[in-house]
Symmetry: none
Subunit: 252 residues, 2 copies
DNA sequence: AAAATACTTGCAAATATTTTCAATATCTTC
DNA sequence: GAAGATATTGAAAATATTTGCAAGTATTTT
């Protein structure tokens, strides 16, 4: 059996059982426990699963809500800080558009009852405000993009285009001096509608997004008013961004 | 069993029972009480639960604060049965509109991957299908009605009016021979749009809804194709409904 | 305030992981 | 197609983690 085939089988098996011990996997693909260990290490690096003591678990278990909410600890500290700093930029009683994506979600968590209206296409954000009747939450329509809990499609774009907000809190996949990019092509149209509907544009981008280019271009830099990032963002790019007239807030 | 799996089971069990003693948990996951203690400490740090003397208690998760979801035990048995019976009426690969309201939610829970499309204005229903990519879930836009997790308002009505589905699974506040009524006036417009957009109308009404009249009239009986109810529904009204040509399914 | 119950701490046994190394398999290069 | 180089595999020793237990401390109950 080939190494790749074996790893594929492990992945597939894990999709079914969610948790698997080393012995279980070793028996199933008929190699030594050592090899399974090595495979798991590789698969973890690939992001396909997470190692645990004695075995492995699925990254996004079906029983789990959406990819993030509680369990996503990827750069959690930075995202929390960014969330707090971005929320501080919002004035009381403003109307805020909140993008999908983990970073924007953390902003929502820190927003409290500050905003009077929230517009979002993210189900986790909607859930977060769901039982809070101090904020009016407007959810765009759309088709659920599985695992992310984002509403996409024409309905989402349409419902956004008729709206207006004071601020848009956005996230994205990458930023360079050429502009901002994002990975999910389906989101681009929606994000552009968000950018059009808001007066002030705040992008929340942790340091890993700097000098990175995702597949689809989203917008030029001149659309952006403010960028919120963390302390590890590369100083040179931050300076260059400031020179183009963008306000850059560095959260600690 | 691995540590992570064990902790996951503890979390999951707690979702059901709200509170569990150390012994109970220790027995359930088959480790010593000491280990359960350590697990609980970790889970508490993660924010998944709250420790108490002798056990652990669920920390009310925001996303579940909608009136129902798991915790609403009001006529739970009946609603489960109705949910199952109504789900059985759906043919594979149909497009299904699912109304907000607890009873309709239970139908969603039993639907599995049967429907190919689901249209809903209920956040709990959307969440339920959220990470399932075998079903395409279309969420109407709208403003969140707090505590119920329902999307209401003109946007919800608009997005529904352009759609079409094979079946609509509805719930309501009361039914008499004069028609069906509902309590939330905001929902009426949306429900009417749902009724217009679907070919077959199934109303799910537990026995407490029979011979009851809510504030706002929703529709006449001739719109209804099928009513699913439980065994305690009054026989006379059930008979009379059958005579008007409505199919009445009684779940046990 | 005493009894009962639950919690914390420290420790040894069990279990898992990393590291290392020899054996085998696979790929190059001639 | 054979010889050497490289990569992969399985197994064993060293290291680290987790688990269960028991003694001591805190908390609740009566």
């Amino acid at each position: 059996m080939q190494a790749e085939e074996r790893q594929f089988l492990i992945e597939q098996h894990l999709q079914k059982v969610e948790f698997a011990s080393l012995e279980e996997l070793s028996e199933r693909v008929d190699v030594s426990v050592s090899t399974v260990r090595r495979d798991l290490t590789l698969l973890e690096a690939k992001g396909a699963l997470r190692r645990t003591h004695g075995g492995a678990r699925l990254v996004a278990p079906k029983s789990d809500e959406f990819i993030f909410t509680a369990r996503d600890t990827h750069q959690l500290g930075e995202k929390e800080a960014i969330g707090q700093a971005a929320a501080a930029l919002i004035q009381p009683n403003q109307g805020v558009i909140i993008d999908s994506g983990t970073t924007a979600y953390h902003v929502a968590k820190h927003l409290g009852g500050k905003a009077s209206h929230v517009i979002t296409n993210s189900l986790p954000v909607a859930n977060h405000f769901g039982s809070d009747n101090s904020v009016e939450v407007l959810v765009t329509g759309g088709v659920i993009y599985p695992r992310l809990g984002v509403l996409v499609g024409p309905l989402a774009v349409e419902s956004l285009s008729g709206m207006h907000a004071d601020v848009a809190v956005m996230s994205a996949g990458g930023i360079t001096l050429d502009g901002i990019t994002n990975s999910h092509a389906l989101l681009i149209d929606i994000q552009r509608a968000m950018l059009k509907s808001a007066q002030r544009i705040i992008f929340c981008l942790d340091h890993t997004k700097f000098n990175r280019r995702s597949v689809s271009p989203l917008c030029e830099l001149d659309v952006v008013d403010t960028i919120v990032t963390d302390a590890q963002a590369p100083a040179d790019l931050v300076d260059q961004l400031k020179q183009t007239g963008i306000e850059v807030v560095v959260a600690d």
